[in-house]
């Protein structure tokens, strides 16, 4: 598959997922429940995208080091999904609010990187950034 084809297909996946995302006005603050849901929704989208044939095709064109980094990030995304998914909202509500700006920025960066898919490394940087924020909220491995 060519880079162009991979880009087009991944865009379809993320566009369709984006329609499910909760709407919020720019600059508006979200409550912790919204932040929690939108973060997990984004992790779900990343996971499905990172297991897709389009992502696999993109990985065929990068260096072995970058490919290994992508696989490590895939493991971190799934770990984050489960840790965050099992968390009790009341216990992390304060941390979610404290990290609201970083979480929103991280989600937007991921969405933008997946939509454009300019390069695997840009996607990994965006995904890694979001996971790092999540790791400030819940305890990671």
């Amino acid at each position: 598959m060519t880079k162009h084809a991979a880009k087009h297909s991944i865009k379809l996946v993320t566009d369709s997922a984006a329609r499910l995302a909760p709407e919020s006005a720019p600059g508006a603050t979200r409550d912790s429940s919204d932040l929690y849901s939108s973060t997990l929704e984004q992790l779900n989208r990343i996971l499905v995208t990172m297991l897709s044939p389009e992502w696999d095709a993109a990985l065929q064109e990068v260096s072995p080091t970058e490919r290994q980094a992508a696989l490590r990030e895939l493991l971190r995304v799934q770990h984050a999904r489960l840790v965050l998914g099992n968390a009790i909202l009341q216990e992390i509500a304060e941390d979610l609010k404290e990290n609201e700006a970083s979480l929103v920025a991280g989600q937007e960066a991921v969405q933008s990187a997946l939509d454009r898919l300019e390069s695997v490394s840009k996607v990994l940087t965006a995904v890694g950034g979001l996971i790092d924020v999540v790791a400030r909220i819940v305890t990671f491995l």
Binding site: M1, S33, Y36, S37, S38, T39, L40, E41, N44, L47, V48, L51, S52, P53, D56, A57, Q68, A69, L71, R72, L74, L75, V77, Q78, H79, L82, V83, G85, N86, A87, I88, L89, Q90, L141
Partner: protein, 296 residues
């Protein structure tokens, strides 16, 4: 899937009996509702089992794909930690299943109360059955599944009035607990909604990975035959079906509406059939996904 088809057949017979007279119609409605409740609980157990299986399988798919990026100690640490997280998820699914089965017991006691010769002890049994249901609710309400907290998905309470009944024991039971039972059904609806959102992602993760394998086979050299064609079709069709997992929550919502209709003496065959139709849709979806797995 066979058990729900049997349930559907049974319901038709009960509604036919109901046409015979007002009192027997009343009894038949409680029988029909209890039957629908049993079918719902059986189907929801299948959904809960599948949600557990899908969560484990999606995690295994990721673990296998990412394995080469970890050394031996990293692999051990990763898998042990993921197993702990999955165990927490499975425990919650088990609690939701138990909540559903206890509700089923309550509906059975309501059915028994609808029989005019029911002994007085049935009323006590109904209270005991409901108390067991209510004990489990707080932990389910507080839990999060997939990307939502269960409590946030609980629909607002329905406003309804218990209709007058000749059977005073039944009327008293409904007056005492029907509002609370409606809330427990709403909790089932919310839990199923949360589960199906997570189930969809876990199924899609696994199916996307299977689709990737299909593409890899095609991209590689070597001959591909009918088995590859068949596999490709199954994986793509299952992806479409996976998006209809939400029918489980619709079945729960329909069961709650039917309960309110039952209490208000306006339950119709259509409501019950809708519960069964939604249940069958979910079971069909699970059959289709399992078919892909069995031929892997």
């Amino acid at each position: 899937m066979r058990h729900t088809q049997v349930a559907r057949k049974g319901l038709v017979i009960l509604w036919a009996v109901a046409a015979g007279g007002c009192a027997s119609a009343r009894v038949a409605q409680f029988h029909s509702f209890a039957e629908a409740g049993r079918a719902y609980v059986k189907a929801s157990q299948v959904v809960l089992d599948e949600a557990g299986t899908a969560a484990i399988d999606a995690d295994s798919v990721v673990a296998l794909r990412g394995r080469e990026a970890l050394d031996a100690s990293g692999r051990r640490a990763h898998l042990i930690e993921q197993d702990k997280l999955l165990a927490t998820r499975l425990l919650l699914l088990k609690q939701i299943g138990r909540h559903g089965r206890l509700l089923e017991s309550y509906f059975d006691t309501l059915q028994a109360l609808a029989d005019s010769d029911a002994p007085e002890t049935v009323g006590t049994a109904a209270k005991a059955a409901f108390d067991s249901v209510a004990k489990l609710s707080p932990s389910i309400k507080d839990a999060s599944i997939g990307d939502v907290k269960v409590e946030s998905l609980i629909p607002p309470a329905a406003s309804f009035v218990v209709g007058r009944l000749k059977l005073k024991a039944l009327e008293n039971e409904l007056k005492a607990r029907s509002q609370a039972v409606e809330r427990e059904l709403a909790l089932q609806e919310a839990a199923l909604k949360a589960i199906t959102s997570s189930l969809e992602t876990d199924l899609m993760a696994r199916l996307k990975s299977q689709q990737t394998d299909v593409v890899r086979l095609y991209a590689a050299d070597g001959e591909l035959g009918d088995a590859w064609v068949e596999r490709r079709r199954q994986v793509l069709q299952a992806q479409v079906s996976a998006q209809s997992a939400g029918k489980a929550a619709e079945a729960a919502a329909e069961l709650r509406n039917s309960f309110v209709a039952l209490v208000e003496r306006r339950l119709t065959e259509t409501s019950i059939q809708q519960v069964i139709a939604n249940i069958n849709s979910v079971l069909d979806l699970i059959d289709q996904v399992r078919k892909v797995d069995s031929e892997e």
